[in-house]
Symmetry: C2
Subunit: 337 residues, 2 copies
Amino acid sequence: MSGPGDTVRLAHGAGGEAMRALIEDVFLRGVVDAEARAMDDGAAIPFGDRWLVVTTDAHVVQPAFFPGGDIGRLSVCGTVNDLAMMGATELVALTATVIVEEGYSIADLRRVAASMRAACDEAGARLLAGDTKVMRKGELDGLALSSSGVALADRVVRGGGVRAGDAILITGTIGDHGLAVLGARHQLGLGDALRSDVAPLNGLVRAALAAGGDAVHAMKDPTRGGVTSALTELARASGVAVRLDEDALPYTDAARAAAELLGIDPLVVANEGKALLAVAPDAAPRVIAALRAHPLGARAAIIGRAVAGEPGEVVLDTGFGTRRLRERDGDPLPRIC
Amino acid sequence: MSGPGDTVRLAHGAGGEAMRALIEDVFLRGVVDAEARAMDDGAAIPFGDRWLVVTTDAHVVQPAFFPGGDIGRLSVCGTVNDLAMMGATELVALTATVIVEEGYSIADLRRVAASMRAACDEAGARLLAGDTKVMRKGELDGLALSSSGVALADRVVRGGGVRAGDAILITGTIGDHGLAVLGARHQLGLGDALRSDVAPLNGLVRAALAAGGDAVHAMKDPTRGGVTSALTELARASGVAVRLDEDALPYTDAARAAAELLGIDPLVVANEGKALLAVAPDAAPRVIAALRAHPLGARAAIIGRAVAGEPGEVVLDTGFGTRRLRERDGDPLPRIC
């Protein structure tokens, strides 16, 4: 997949095909344990009569402070959400590392720390261990955080569990995080309305699982690569295709406006407080009701369905025809998360 | 402890007093859960009738490849060793994140991955989840890794457990990692003899605990800040002082030569495959015997003892008198690990 003179490209971090190729090629084949290779958001290991789920995330978002959140909140929520997507909503412990550039403002570091604490409180998570490293001025652009988490699950929800016929649900509006970060970076000046959705989803997922039980066949949070990449991965892992109904896709007005101004499809932009769920069709109404009853799920919607077809194919029905959704590999959006 | 205009200094990453002040001030007080504040190498939570121990480490060593190891091996061993220092030698899972600069050689990334795999195999560890982020050219100097780990312990060994009268043991020669990295950076040309000691210590610690049992009162790996910082922290947490016997300190000839050339005290330089143990004096001989029977403990030695005195004071008995060992805060050694 890569030759001896090859180097890392920005697309390797973009969340699409190139990233999967690099990760599969270099890390999964070589390093990560075989049983974790299912490309779920984390790994689950049998633990007594339950499952222990572990996951980890790195964050390098730029700017580190953006409308609706910051890198600290992102770091905690990223890990809490990866655990939640596997059904592991009973958090045991989080850990975090902070790599910081010499000369970084300690007041800003304090803001990041306070934000991590607040996100932990929201999630009911405990950050139990940390490490800090300092790099010389010019060796790192500001701040890089990594977090990892451990949680327990009675049942593990796998990315490969989607069945043809399943309803595809999203828990709210699309593209808010990525568009808010890009809006801040490019100073679009759309005001307070364009805000990241970054939030811990374990409570929302708990509510969905309580309502849907085993009828919730798969979950994934559409972070890097957005809804398009997340559905492509779910569909590919499950051997199905997905058909989305464009009219059903929820957006805020601010996100629509920002996407238009930036010329970016919101379906390929990262979300940090949303989940996609594949649910048996008869259970979908009660899962939607449970999601909408939660503050983070008010705009939950059924946006499409899984169908028999080319595994991994995601098609958008525009009402006037269909177009295949493609992952954004050629033109990456670096440091969105 | 810091004013509004203050910024991060290199000393904040050096492993001594300034780092503890920053971490305690910004992160421990604000973020990390109260029960984890004992400043152990990780955190332990009750789990059935056992303990679940979690820890995390970031690594930014430069150069990333050095005699005796590389950043990948360092990352795995750092986490395995932090767990082992708390008595948690039964590894459940490791996770890792890789942040890489655009343009980084994929061949080098492969070497790092292979090295992580080899270190996991040596430790009997399974790397179960990972994440990769790419930063633009110039935004990161090469590569930064973070790792975290989960392990089980029947008994947690705490850093605050040293008692006056305990023998202080080290499992082998002092300063090898830091001096090898500095030697590579400054191209000292001392040849193959100057090599990092980076190694997973869980097997060695298991042997020590099997021999010493409850008589092993505390353990710590002397990484950043070296033997001086590690003993200062152990002694302070335990309310004792430590007196070291200079003649008993084990060094390789290459490390002695490098320390001389660089003008650096090997006692403040990072080790990555060594542990300090505080052991009840009657049990010390059998713990030393167990350590020496293990390939990683051949040069284990009793290097001093804990005494009643100013908590945290570490004194070196040179045979001609004594001098107090001070942590290296004014002149940090950045990116040694």
